[in-house]
Amino acid sequence: MVLDFNTIYYPGRFERLIEDFFRPQPGEGRRMAFPPLNVSEDEANYYIRSEVPGMALDAVELTLTEKSLVIRGERPTEQGKYYRQERPAGFFQRVVALNVPVDRDKVRATLADGVLTVVLPKCEGCIPRKISIDVA
């Protein structure tokens, strides 16, 4: 039988508990949501990354609406007699509100090693540009 003795002790557990208690971080409560999301931007694009291990690209359903990007899918449960189950399973859904205009036709999604990356290009007309004021 396979035994796992790591439940009781894993390094840094209490240190992390104390650290988290004194430094509450924004979005801490949502870290429990599956799958975790990273949202970032650079000059040309917005990037949404998500850890969805075990999912094939066609099993992840991405829906882009006017105001939101919805990531949904279902993680299957393995058959067998479980001794330990930590991996989340079942249906999941995350909704990313898009309150910025994006170029909807050029949105691309890739999935590599269980990390989903959605690239949302900023639309041409929305990149800020300088307007010179002429003195009349």
Binding site: V2, V39, E51, E78, Q79, G114
Partner: protein, 123 residues
């Protein structure tokens, strides 16, 4: 957040993460599934010690330096997890495969030793 500091000195130490693991038993042996998102095959190593199997993998963030983060819920890290093996596992036939960020370890049972009779020799 801690992810940002880890990004700046990536070469030093990544935060250690214990990957979510399922351990289950089927007809043909034990199966261990580990979620290792972002770990490439070349960044993964599996070591068997005497009666422990240790999985180590590094996940690097695929982001460039120019990006500024609006929301961070996961970051780069080093996955470390050890699972104890019993004597009933056949160490020679352990198989591992990595697909879509999930590591599957198959630990087959020892071939059942057939019961045999010990002949008694006369001295």
């Amino acid at each position: 957040m801690s992810e940002n500091t880890a990004n700046s000195n990536e070469a030093k130490t990544l935060p250690r993460v214990s990957p979510a693991t399922d351990i289950l038993e089927r007809e043909d042996g034990f199966y261990v599934f580990m979620d290792l998102p972002g770990v490439r095959r070349e960044d993964l190593s599996i070591d068997i010690n005497e009666n422990e199997i240790t999985v180590t993998g590094r996940a690097l963030q695929g982001a460039s330096d120019k990006e500024s983060f609006l929301e961070v819920q996961f970051g780069p890290g080093e996955y470390v997890r050890a699972v104890s093996l019993s004597d009933r596992v056949d160490r020679e036939r352990i198989k591992a495969s990595l697909k879509d960020g999930v590591l599957t370890l198959h630990l087959p049972r020892m071939e059942k030793l057939a019961p045999r009779r010990i002949p008694v020799q006369t001295a």
